[in-house]
Amino acid sequence: MIEQVAVAIATILVAPFLGGLLTGLDRKLTSRLQGRVGPPLIQPFYDVIKLLSKDLIVTTRAQAVFVWGYFLFTASALVLFALGQDLLLIVFVLAFGSMCLIAGGFSTKSPYAIIGSQREIAQVLAYEPALILAAVGVYLVNGGFAVSQVWSSARPLLPSLPLVFLTLLMVLLVKMRKSPFDFAASHHAHQELIRGILTEYSGPHLALVELTHWYELVLVLGLISLFWATNLWPGLLIAAAAFAFAVVVDNVTARLTWSWMLRSAWTLGIGLPALNIALLYVRL
């Protein structure tokens, strides 16, 4: 029990640093790909510190409730993952965090935020089934949903779940808000809806959103690293490769329109895992 609490606290403290560094690395890589020098590696930390020093302004107090909900549930999902808990539960907790973000966008009176929230719903419709089916795929290979089972298993997941892995790459792109799936709130400034769902978040709340984004990034990369969890290094290598892949794809693709996004995300997000699961059943 004590060690569980210790792991939880350690995760909560360490993950932001990891996430922030990864975000900084992302910006550095992107800028190099675009022929620029780019900001320093720890720029995201500078940004968050500066945001924290700004005034706390909201359009409605409900916004504050929802952004804290988004943060706390996403952090909880990461803690549950670090503790090796049930993967399906982690997916549902993460989903509730997304629901808080969407509700927060709807609760402001800004038309930009509301359209952004509606787009975010479309996006959730696209990747949520993928995550649940990925969890089901893990169950079918390992006989259990627990992350700790994956860590202690002798067989790696990737050979049995290659299509689910590809789907998780798509989920990574969505969660990092990178093209071609940056429909709701792009990671960069090129958003015709001002900042979409995050338009009315500023100052400390925007810092909180950024922090949550870091936790989410660590969580999704952690999920990707599960696919070769027999030793430490292959998993990390896969996660690093996926991260680099996301950055490159972002820079070579343009944003999809919502109908294209839904179509492609459903084909990839539902079709690929379903196919993988069906193949597993056939072999079973």
């Binding site: 909201v58 409900a62 909900g69 049930d86 629901m99 509700a103 966008g105």
Partner: protein, 643 residues
């Protein structure tokens, strides 16, 4: 003692209903309703203490079988008369057909097999009885104020509340009888009483729209009832005992009971408004809100899924089970997607109800002990949450004059308590520690673990439907709190009747969710063991740890603390300023804050509405194709039963 409790549970509401009908002064009627509610709740709790209870009516001396014959015939004659009065051809045809079948069954040649345990109460029955008695009573008390406002609104004079409460209370008694019945003859009687009550209550307002929708509900439910009667006839013709225990006990010859099982499952699915029969439930939303809350989310439709779940061990490992799983999962997904396209609050709730009922039926079709546990949990948690949501939408509709979700924008400013209660209801449908999501988690676990013989398509459908539900809940949750930061308008008081009914429902949800582990462990699981047999419960690792993939009770409680702590934290963090949102230029300001200045100092009005994905999911198109697939599935339900 047990027998008297059962008798009270069934007969007391009927007597109270008659008393309510007799045109008593208003205060007396209110006392009757409240008193009946309290008594019913107490009786249900007392009955729930028994793990199993059998009541043998023939042994009590009175010739109950003849009484049942008389009651049955009277009932089908009354239904036929009402159907003829609606002048709806399909309703008349089905009612007359049912009259013919029942008359032949009761008066014609038959084996008249004696069923010894007329009523059998186990955990499944008492869970539903608790829902009916406690939640149903709360709804009836709520209706006391709601119907006053309703009649004032629609200028109804003289008051028709006597008739209203008569049918509501009789319905409670019939539901209790339905879930207690083991003898299929008695079950059929109570089943059709609920059909009758539903018809009368949907058409309560007496407008042409109400009567048309009531007729549609009538014929669809009669279709199921005809199936039920057909099952009874088949069982008697084949010399089988017409009791639930015989059907699921495994002692009956499988090839002989499969078609009756198909017919009974069909009856359950029509009553639970599964596709393609969902239109009657959607049409029933014209009824006053307490009717929607009681009949069409918490109780009557639950009777339909109750029957399907109850019969599950009887069709385990047959093709019927697979078809039921598909049909349920299909309804789950399609209804969830259709809920995304609606802007009418009650319609969204109706689709959500149909969706969850589909999930329960799909769990019954998956037919492992874990899946059936999920079904039972869903029945319990969904009934409470959905009742709360319907009641709060009813209060909101009376407060703001509309039940459109977009009209509920900014409800938190003018009606803070109502908005918070509605938000609590919505959150309870999606929050991880809360009951409904917990049950959904168990359902997906059950589907995934159902073994190699099971098709993975159902799991895929569970995943897609689960994602869709997030969409419409989050949209609604947010809209409740969209309000401009102008001068706050004076908040409206909630009123004691609403506070005393809605408040306890919220508390009940909280208690049930926090105590979910305890409830499953000590209440549901022992009953399931009695029902499914000792060998079946081993795999149902819900409150137990199954290896390392356990239900992390401790961490979910921690999550619940997080969930409760969030609003507290956020409210404590007082924002330095509340500012209007950015539009596209300088805000005009003012209390409504919905205009901005554009070129040449012109004011532009900003109106915000939610998108309902109608371009992608055009309701008519989805419904049309959905019905086609659903009809094929229903045909399969019969096809696999017919040998």
């Amino acid at each position: 003692m047990g027998e008297s409790l059962v008798a009270i549970a069934i007969l007391l509401p009927v007597i109270a209903g008659v008393a309510a009908y007799l045109g008593l002064p208003r205060l007396v009627r209110r006392a009757v309703v409240v008193g009946t509610g309290i008594a019913l709740g107490a009786v249900a709790i007392a009955l729930a203490a028994h793990e199993r209870l059998e009541v043998d009516l023939p042994a009590l001396g009175f010739d109950w079988s003849r009484a049942l014959v008389a009651l049955d015939l009277l009932l089908v004659v009354v239904i036929a008369y009402l159907a003829i009065r609606t002048r709806h051809r399909l309703a008349i045809g089905l009612a007359v057909a049912q009259l013919a079948v029942v008359a032949y069954l009761k008066l014609g040649p038959s084996s008249h097999s004696v069923v010894h345990s007329t009523f059998v109460l186990d955990r499944l029955s008492t869970t539903l009885s608790l829902i009916v008695s406690i939640v149903g009573s709360i709804i009836c008390v709520y209706a006391l104020r709601y119907m006053d406002e309703h009649e004032e609104h629609h200028h109804v004079s003289p008051s028709r509340q006597g008739r209203f409460f008569f049918f509501m209370l009789v319905f409670l008694g019939a539901m209790n009888g339905l879930v207690f019945a083991n003898d299929l003859g008695w079950l059929f009687f109570f089943w059709e009483v609920t059909t009758l009550c539903s018809f009368m209550l949907i058409g309560h307002d007496g407008t042409p729209v109400a009567i048309a929708n009531a007729s549609r509900a009538l014929w669809m439910n009669l279709l199921g009832g005809l199936g039920f009667a057909g099952a009874l006839w088949l069982l008697e013709a084949r010399g089988q005992e017409t009791s639930l225990e015989a059907l699921v006990g495994g002692s009956a010859d499988a090839s002989l009971v499969l078609l009756p099982l198909s017919l009974l499952v069909f009856a359950g699915m029509t009553k639970a408004a599964q596709m393609p029969f969902q239109s009657w439930l959607l049409g029933a939303m014209v009824a006053p809100t307490p009717v929607s809350a009681l009949l069409h989310s918490s109780a009557m439709v639950k009777a339909g899924v109750y029957l399907v779940v109850r019969l599950a061990p009887g069709y385990r490992e047959t093709a019927l089970s697979d078809v039921v799983a598909f049909a349920g999962a299909f309804t789950f997904v399609v209804a969830a997607v259709l809920a995304l396209t609606s802007s009418d609050g009650k319609r969204v709730l109706a689709y959500s109800t149909i969706s969850n009922l589909g999930l329960i039926i799909a769990c019954a079709g998956v037919n492992t002990s874990l899946a059936l546990a999920a079904a039972l949990m869903l029945i319990l948690f969904h009934a409470v949450s959905k009742a709360l949501l319907f009641l709060s939408v009813g209060s909101i509709e009376h407060a703001i004059g509309s039940r459109d979700i977009d009209a509920m924008e900014g409800l938190a400013r003018r009606h803070p308590k109502l908005a918070l209660i509605a938000a609590a209801g919505i959150i309870s449908m999606a929050l991880p520690p809360a009951g409904v999501l917990l049950s959904k988690w168990v359902a997906v676990e059950a589907a995934a673990s159902a073994g190699a013989s099971f098709k993975p398509l159902v799991t895929v459908l569970f995943a897609v439907g689960s994602a869709a539900t997030l969409g419409f809940w989050s949209r609604w949750l947010g809209r409740l709190f969209t309000s401009p930061p102008g001068v706050p308008t004076s908040p409206v008081r909630l009123g004691s009747t609403y506070a005393l009914t809605l408040g306890p429902l919220v508390a009940l949800i909280a208690v049930l969710s926090l105590g979910a582990g305890v409830i499953v462990d000590s209440f549901l699981e022992p009953g399931m063991r009695l029902y499914f047999g000792a060998e079946a419960i081993e795999g149902a690792g819900i409150a137990l740890a199954a290896g390392e993939a356990s239900y992390p009770l401790g961490w979910l409680y921690a999550l619940a603390l997080v969930a409760l702590g969030v609003p507290a934290l956020a409210v404590a963090v007082r924002p330095a300023r509340i500012r209007p949102a950015y539009f596209c230029g300088e805000n005009v300001g003012g209390p409504t804050d919905d205009e901005f200045y554009t070129a040449a100092e012109q004011k532009v009005h900003v109106g915000i509405a939610s998108s309902h994905f109608r371009a992608l999911f055009a309701e008519e198109r989805v419904v049309r194709w959905g019905n086609v697939v659903a009809i094929v599935l229903i045909a399969l339900v019969f096809g696999v039963g017919y040998r």
